[in-house]
Amino acid sequence: MGKRGSITFWLAIGWIAVVIVCAITAPWWPVPAPDLIDPDLLATPPCVGHPLGTDTMGRDIAARLLFGARVSIIVGFCAPLVGMVLGSLLGVPAGFYRGRPERLILFILDTLLAFPGLVFLLVFTFVFGASLTTITVALGVLTAPRFARVARANTIRFAEREFVLAARGVGAGDFSIILREILPNVLAPMLIYMLLVIGFVIVAEGGLGFLGLSVPSPAPSWGGMIAGGRDILDQAPHVSLIPTAVMFLTVLSVNLIGDAVRGRLDRREGQL
């Protein structure tokens, strides 16, 4: 990675840090409340009092971005965690035991992959109600099969290694081998993969918000904000474009970080 590469890497880190700080400090910024409707100022461009302008209902875009960041960040980081845990539960035994359990788990994974994600998300939120938690869990479940594949592949890789055979030699049970020998080794590639999934989840949450199915209104989400400006795209493009740009930069930064970390790890493995 050249000097230019590391500059973009730190820029990406910087942007993510800004978004996280904004998400945490959202209530204390000197902007109007995110659900405060200003009927005189509908979809106005940036002006005094509204640094990024207002949306079609006269709500402050900056404030809505700040609170929307909470949704994106929480979902973006927690859903992959859920997916990683579920994926490990499926993938590690599949890679460790092979044979019949593996075939059964692969069948479950194929079923999950063939299941339309949208139906799952919609029904899940119907049943449990749309909230930050349900959306996080639902998106987490959707990413689980991908994590399971990574977990299985890496488990297979490590299950034949000397230290596992040695542990077996001294009479360690399956459970303790998985817990002590396999999991710590599978964790690193899983975490790397998680970095790559975060961007996907933020986009997916944006899609849900676009459909109006993310956190219930009037709570803001970036996807919902993009959708909100759709009808006045011609007259006031900033209503859609500002949240689009923020979301783009966030996903781009996460992807850049994931890519850089993975590249560094690959190189270290290549040197071994």
Binding site: T111, P116, L118, V119, L122, V123, V127, L211, T244, L252
Partner: protein, 315 residues
């Protein structure tokens, strides 16, 4: 060929599992379908009659068995909302989605193959790095955001293309294609990135092969070496990713279909879910699962076409 048969059995079981899972999930949605179907002001007797007519009193396995038995015969029941046979609804919505997918994936390939080949050939060059950066940017944009941008530029500002709306093929091929251009492009501009990346990666390793060196020793021009010798053996991952993308678009292009008002499967599915029109949802889920499974199968068949060693050796 035997491994293809084993795969087929496995994949049919997946379809059964997916539809059964859908039944189970829909059964837990807290809504009284019978009273919705009976309409407002219906007496409890009316509702009970509707429930009886729809067979909602039977236990879940019985209902699922009845449904799948009918589905095998090609009968997916009637929509709760409109009374229209679900098969009819799917038949009228599917061509739109298929056209969208075909065009989108075609555009994606048209972008990905030249870009993948050139960046592999000139790996590490400024061109490679520039294209890599561009691809990285597109990979970070959601398709719906791209759609908004494309509408803004090409429909509202330049006024070259319609922003939304669908013209059936009977309304003329040109008008029909015009309506599909922006939605297909919105999808393609996102989908080409993974295609290009896997092609570039595989192609770089292919170009290190001895048979490429021999092709150069034969005095073949670069273009013929890249296209005629290196491309086909480098297409395996590309085909896999391509198949998975195409399969996921059957039900996954909802946002694009909604933004551009295209009456496709995704829209049928979402309206079905919102209206709790379960036969429609079930039908769409069946279609989507079958698309996933069918694509999986097709990808394996394509391996055989790409590499003569696969079919014979069954490696």
């Amino acid at each position: 060929m035997r491994f293809l048969w084993g795969k087929l059995v496995h994949l049919s079981l997946v379809v059964v599992a997916v539809t059964a899972l859908t039944f189970l999930m829909l059964d837990h949605v807290p809504a009284d379908i019978a009273s919705e179907v009976a309409g407002q002001g219906a007496t409890s007797e009316d509702i009970a009659a509707v429930r009886e007519r729809l067979g909602l009193n039977d236990p879940l396995p019985v209902r699922y068995g009845r449904w799948i038995a009918a589905a095998v015969r090609g009968d997916l029941g009637n929509s709760f909302a409109s009374g229209q046979p679900v098969v009819e609804a799917i038949r009228s919505h599917l061509p739109v989605t298929v056209e969208l997918i075909v065009l989108a994936q075609l555009f994606a390939l048209l972008l990905a193959i030249p870009a993948g080949v050139v960046t592999a050939w000139r790996a590490g060059s400024p061109l490679d790095r520039t294209l890599g950066t561009v691809a990285f940017g597109f990979a970070s944009l959601p398709a719906f955001a791209l759609a908004i941008g494309l509408i803004l530029v090409f429909a509202l500002r330049l006024k070259w293309l319609p922003a939304t709306g669908y013209t059936p093929l009977t309304g003329g091929i040109a008008a029909n294609l015009k309506g599909f251009l922006l939605p297909a492009l919105s999808i393609a501009l996102v989908e080409w990135v993974p295609l290009m990346r896997v092609l570039r990666g595989d192609m770089i390793s292919t170009l290190k092969e001895d048979f490429i060196l021999l092709a150069r020793c034969k005095g073949l021009p670069t273009r013929q070496i890249l296209i005629g010798h290196a491309l086909r053996p480098s297409c395996f991952t590309l085909v896999t990713v391509f198949g998975m993308q195409a399969a996921s678009l059957i039900g996954g292009a909802v946002l694009i279909e909604l933004i551009f008002s295209l009456p496709g499967i995704g829209r049928l599915l979402v309206t079905g879910i919102f209206a709790q029109d379960y036969p429609v949802v079930q039908g769409c889920v069946l279609l989507i699962a079958m698309a996933y499974v069918g694509m999986n199968f097709l990808v394996d068949v394509c391996y055989g076409l790409l590499d003569p060693r696969v079919l014979k050796g069954g490696r």
